[in-house]
């Protein structure tokens, strides 16, 4: 059941990304799957985050019509980076650390895809790297806001329960 939920959440993130990106241009600069991966790495299990990243990447490749593997590789790497960094640094009260971790992971994802393009002897536009930095910043900002809201909500619920 847990793995069905993993798969479903990955699917939903991709579909949401596709629908939103088609209607609102700025959503193209938001990587929902990275936020999803970060969520699993932070609040659930880092192992599961790897699988979520991997699966979300594969689905994203399929959706984009790319050869399967580019995004899978990038998202898995990003999930690993987020999982390792989140526990290593104190992220509880320092929002900028969270921001930096998500942004760096998003950049790592894009950079790995760019390198894979180069390795596979495919041309990748330099604009891709520029847009990736913008995407990393927006994704990190939105991610930090979502997680802050989530924690705030949990705190309020816990406070009410007491």
């Amino acid at each position: 059941m847990k793995y069905v939920f993993l798969a479903l959440s990955s699917c939903l993130a991709i579909i949401a990304q596709m629908i939103a990106g088609r209607n609102f241009f700025l959503f193209n600069f938001l990587d929902l799957s990275i936020i999803l991966v970060a969520y699993w790495a932070i609040y659930r299990s880092r192992m599961q985050a790897l699988f979520v990243g991997s699966l979300a990447g594969l689905l994203l490749d399929a959706a984009m019509g790319w050869p399967i593997g580019y995004n899978g590789f990038g998202k898995t790497l990003a999930a690993f980076a987020i999982g390792q960094c989140w526990k290593r640094f104190n992220t509880a009260d320092q929002l900028w650390v969270r921001f930096a971790i998500i942004a760096t992971s998003s950049c790592l994802n894009s950079l790995s895809i760019y390198i894979l393009f180069w390795l596979m002897q495919r041309s990748a536009s330099r604009i891709f790297l520029g847009a990736s930095i913008l995407q990393a910043l927006i994704t990190a900002a939105v991610g930090v806001l979502i997680f802050a809201g989530l924690e705030n909500y949990k705190r309020t619920q816990a406070h009410k329960a007491h």
Binding site: M47, S54, L58, P67, I68, G69, G72, F73, T76, Q84
Partner: protein
């Protein structure tokens, strides 16, 4: 701080996942030569292993042949010196004929087949399956080797390159059932197609029943296949009989001993 154990566990998951994605990608993408990257990468990964083990085997063989297997070396040396003297005389007469041939060729404005750019290579491995008839040589794209380039030896045509990585190439031998060469009979200039049969003998196809083919007839490349240059020796006819249909059934014994190939040359088309 994450514990060391959990980090190692994460690495145990992330590395296979990353490799899986790379494998998926390489199974879908072709390189500029039209070969799947998966094949090229596999060859590139196994190249150092093959080179290393081949080097060890060569060293062992060298020690064996240079230091252990020296019985009768003195008498063999005398025989060889005698052979060298005889061959030197023969060679000088051939040299005269070669020069005369070159003059005649120039007169006829024909291209000298020796003008092909070649690169020497050492055979480093062969596939274990007898049916595949594929060898690996220690030259690759770094040395200018490309796919579908003819591989020859002193005895004639060996095969063609079918897969090229940076440092190694795979060569499909003439005996491979998938291999074929455009040929002609030296005596009658009759064209045909020589095919590998997976056996030591090759099948010469598409020679009509009405053609005169005798045992011992030399078989040369015709150059019509677009891969092998014209006039390279391949073998001689050892069995020729009328076929049931339109064509004769002809068996050709290659000059090359395909089980004992050690050094070859690749004719570089790109040069």
């Amino acid at each position: 701080m994450p514990s060391k154990v959990s980090k190692e566990r994460a690495l145990l998951v992330v590395i296979p996942l990353l490799i899986l994605h790379l494998a998926l990608l390489s199974l879908q993408i072709e390189g500029p030569s039209g070969t799947l990257l998966f094949k090229t990468w596999t060859l590139a990964v196994q190249a150092p292993v093959i080179s290393f083990s081949s080097g060890i085997a060569r060293a062992v063989r060298r020690v064996w042949s240079n230091y252990v297997w020296m019985v009768g070396a003195r008498s063999e040396n005398q025989q060889l010196q005698e052979t060298v003297r005889r061959l030197s005389l023969l060679n000088s007469s051939y040299e005269q004929e070669r020069q005369e041939n070159a003059r005649l060729r120039r007169l006829l404005s024909m291209t000298d087949s020796a003008s092909y750019k070649t690169v020497g290579a050492r055979v480093v491995a062969r596939t274990p399956s007898f049916l595949s008839n594929v060898i690996y040589i220690d030259r690759g794209s770094k040395d200018g080797v490309r796919i579908d380039e003819p591989v020859i030896s002193g005895d004639g045509i060996v095969g063609r390159t079918i897969l090229v990585s940076r440092y190694q190439s795979q060569v499909q031998l003439l005996t491979n059932p998938d291999a074929s060469v455009g040929v002609m009979l030296e005596r009658t200039r009759t064209p045909g197609v020589l095919r590998g049969s997976g056996d030591f003998l090759l099948d010469l196809n598409y020679i009509g029943n009405s053609e005169q083919v005798e045992n011992g007839d030399l078989v040369l490349s015709s150059g019509l296949d677009g891969i092998f240059p014209k006039g390279l020796g391949i073998g001689k006819v050892v069995d020729s009989r009328k076929g049931k249909g339109v064509f004769r059934s002809i068996k050709v014994q290659p000059f090359m001993d395909f089980m004992r190939i050690e050094e070859v040359s690749i004719i570089l088309k790109s040069m």
